[in-house]
Symmetry: C2
Subunit: 197 residues, 2 copies
């Protein structure tokens, strides 16, 4: 028997309700920069600190996207575009569910980053330029990718034979060439806290 | 100056850590059934009840996926397959981040549902058959889709001119033909709570 006093409620849980539960807003923190600039390192360290402070946060990066959702995509211009589009749409789903999403992808093209910005509300997309000059990135070469690219083993590698378009007006710049990773992480954590109050 | 006592920690936040924070496990609750069987209605109502009880939960359905992530896909067999694959991969990302994901898609083909099952660990995928005979679904026709399909305005409509493959051994059956939506919702909520303890 159904209790007639029970009100049937099938409306989706709103973003606002998630925010109230989490006690903070959600948004996309979009890290962009050259391979080796430190995007994933800083994203994960910042996410961990925010998590430990009670924030609802996740990281999207090559590790969890390239071999899953986007495993059908290669590195042609068209596929790179689709790669970023899908990541943007997934990030939006997380934002709708109240999560702060820190993404860590080279995302070399302004146009693609601009498209992601348009997917969400105006204050929900934050472009963070993880800045580091090519020479430094290439010297770090944490995954040996620059070496391979220079040897011609990886075509269309950003910075070598494919362009990286710097953001014109990023919301935040983390200069990993000039500051150490701890400082950059702290800067990002503080920025996220300020923006999701 | 960097405090040398600070330990740098950039490891991803693990699923287990999310579970500990949320005090419940995460998994995919995969609702499958004909159009009009009540999938979205029950999914949203169950999610709302779980949310109000403190669960970390979200719903993926046509409303938030078809016009976003999967807007490039049509209704050919190939596109339907890709539609389900992407939803599975996104659901997995939510599971990794500690969220219970209730999905509401017709997902008519056994093979596609089986592929999603294989994306996650054995106890993380729960196939829920939202069962309702075609005549009843067609009589309800909440979106007028059956009428259009019968008029030939929607080709390859599941149940009309495209098959629906019933699950052989679903983890749960919600018989919306025999039970009202309140009972079905309660059954689903209880199931989810039992499975994510």
């Amino acid at each position: 028997m159904v209790n007639k006093d029970i009100v049937w409620h099938e409306a989706s849980i709103t973003k606002r309700e998630y925010h109230e539960k989490n006690q903070h807003k959600s948004s996309i923190i979009w890290l962009t920069g050259l391979s080796g600039s430190g995007k994933s390192t800083i994203a994960n360290a910042a996410a961990r600190e925010l998590f430990e402070q009670g924030y609802q946060v996740t990281v999207l990066d090559g590790d969890n996207v390239r071999h899953g959702l986007n495993k059908d995509l290669g590195f042609s211009d068209e596929d790179r575009k689709e790669n970023i589009r899908r990541i943007g749409e997934v990030a939006k789903l997380f934002v709708e569910q109240g999560t702060i999403v820190i993404t860590a992808f080279i995302s070399p093209f302004k146009e693609d980053r601009g498209l992601v910005r348009q997917l969400v509300e105006e204050d929900e997309f934050h472009e963070v330029y993880v800045k580091c000059d090519l020479a430094t990135c290439e010297e770090r070469d944490p995954k040996g990718l620059y070496r391979k690219a220079r040897n011609g083993e990886i075509p269309f590698f950003t910075g070598i034979d494919s362009p990286y378009e710097e953001p014109d007006t990023p919301e935040l710049v983390l200069d990993t060439g000039a500051h150490n990773r701890e400082e950059c992480k702290n800067q990002l954590v503080q920025y996220v806290k300020d923006q999701t109050k």
